[in-house]
Symmetry: C2
Subunit: 113 residues, 2 copies
């Protein structure tokens, strides 16, 4: 079983060509971006020392760049529910955390807690 | 409880900014379009007779138009699953029918049958 921790980031009212109303709900997963990997082979003690001094500066620069060691939101689930279906499911709002469990032959979506 | 009968219409390989792979699965619901509604009040027997003769022709013309009395596909569910999650859930392909049940505090997705 795999469980995804998703966050509701958008709730939108949309219409189909017949004019029927749907609530479109977008759920994303927040993922940490891997930071810069410090891959160097210290040739001698002096070089290693220099690297250790430079690395914090490099990390700081990379973090200040867009997509530099921060978080990204990956879309995981989008639902289009009618008013009646939203009423059955219960209130759901942007910022809410939902758990998506993937099991054999079944995917379940429920609010956290 | 509300149950939606969905059809998998698209399976796509997508990548997030870190290069991680996801299988994007689109599920739609097929809905019948309401046909033309014959709303007329027969003033007399002769008019009523004329209407009855004309209606089949009108219906035929409307059906030949785009969106005329046919079926439309309404998006209902989109999932982005990793390879591992697809493996846990089981094979799913375009054309497959999935049932989406909306219950209090839970939405469940499973293949039909």
């Amino acid at each position: 079983m795999a469980t995804i921790r998703g966050v509701v980031v958008s709730k939108q009212l949309v219409y189909d060509p017949t004019g029927a109303k749907y609530i479109k709900i977008d759920v994303v997963e927040e993922r940490e971006l891997p930071g810069p990997v410090a891959a160097f082979s210290a040739q001698d003690e002096q070089t290693a020392q220099l690297m250790r001094e430079v690395m914090p500066l490099v990390t700081q620069i990379v973090r200040s760049l867009p997509f530099g060691g921060g978080k990204i939101a990956v879309p995981r689930l989008t639902l289009w529910l009618t008013d009646e279906e939203v009423e059955v499911f219960g209130d759901i709002d942007v910022g809410d955390v939902v758990l998506i469990s993937v099991e054999k032959g079944e995917i379940r979506v429920r609010p956290e807690g």
